[in-house]
Symmetry: C2
């Protein structure tokens, strides 16, 4: 069923290159210069996303995450109340960035593209970027670790997901009306997102198709030419 992808056995506790060295030691906490605090938090989220994606949420210890940013065992809890809150932060940050990125992609192309098929191409291409672009670990974590968040956390994410999916709806409706998309729109959307999201499992940036080729294939698979 198309489910390969090597298990990265991981160098266990290798800290990010040089990060530990750059850590300002005796600095008083919470000075006027808040950049430091904010950066540390963002570093934690980024490192957590990377580890959660590679090893899974349960298999990643908070000690792993701390080590990745050059902190000691208990220090992540200074920034996040619990490991679960950190996971949620990864997902939220991922959705926030994805929504913004999609906005920009649509805005940039709106000058040239107005036909539904072109818009779908933009949406799909951007979605592949969000899923498979270098350093984009946030959304894959959200997609594959949703079991580990609470109902309340899931609710706030659902709102963001609705925001993300909103621009797709009119495009799919238009394609359906013109006969370029035959299937039931709601089921088509679910199946389409599945096809795209699953690419996380098999896509390898180093070999095989490019994201553009992937987009072409998806578009050819899902839509037909105007009758």
């Amino acid at each position: 069923m198309d489910q390969p992808a090597a298990r990265h056995t991981a160098p266990a506790t290798a800290p990010e290159s040089g990060v530990a060295a750059r850590r300002p030691r005796g600095r008083p906490r919470k000075t006027v210069d808040e950049r430091d605090d904010g950066n540390r938090r963002a570093e934690l989220v980024r490192a957590a996303a990377k580890l959660f994606r590679r090893k899974g949420f349960d298999a990643t210890s908070t000690r792993d995450i701390a080590a990745a940013v050059g902190m000691r065992n208990g220090s992540p809890f200074y920034h996040f109340k619990s490991k679960g809150v950190l996971l949620h932060a990864v997902m939220q940050e991922g959705m926030r960035a994805a929504i913004e990125r999609q906005h920009e992609a649509l805005h940039q192309s709106e000058q040239q593209t107005t036909n539904p098929r072109g818009l779908l191409a933009v949406l799909i291409r951007n979605h592949f970027d969000v899923l498979l672009g270098p350093g984009n670990d946030f959304i894959p974590v959200m997609l594959y670790e949703s079991r580990s968040i609470t109902a309340r956390q899931r609710a706030t994410l659902a709102a963001l997901q609705g925001e993300y999916e909103a621009p797709w709806e009119p495009v799919l409706q238009a394609l359906h009306r013109s006969g370029q998309l035959q299937a039931d729109v709601k089921l088509a959307r679910l199946l389409m997102f599945g096809a795209l999201n699953w690419s996380v499992q098999w896509f390898d940036r180093r070999k095989g198709a490019s994201l553009d080729e992937l987009t072409d294939a998806a578009l050819a698979l899902f839509t037909r030419d105007l009758p």
Copy 2:
């Protein structure tokens, strides 16, 4: 991105109905009657599949699994050398059953159906059954816990997956030749399986579409009528 699905918070340690009561207490092990041993092993695999699916591999303890079949803490290790071997057994058993089921589905329909689109319908419908049918936890576990198996284990599964996918290839090729499938065949196969496999994340047997309706939608989405 279409990623809801409620988290089954689970009744924690409710044993299978009556299983514990039926356990033969003082029976000597390994008598001529080997049925018992085989059944216990199969029970473990089934219970493990159910728990692995609901809570994830890492979040499921071997104690959970033991309790689910009315065993004590260490007893699963009498049947399986390690938790990882048990996971692998779940996946293997799932693939074995899926392959057999697919064989039968193709055989049964071969009398009536010879056109590629009809065959694809049979394959997709059967795949939905394998993924979403009642009690079918094995394949979802394989799809979503592959990170937790070793490279060697993955290799044996890859062989089975190849066996499972084999009948799809000529069907997709034929559809491509006739113009009913436009996209590149290899990428189309990967995207299609993604669309189907992802249904595990959102499909709810109790509401919404039936597996037949799902199959229709997938077929309409992926293929076009003969030109």
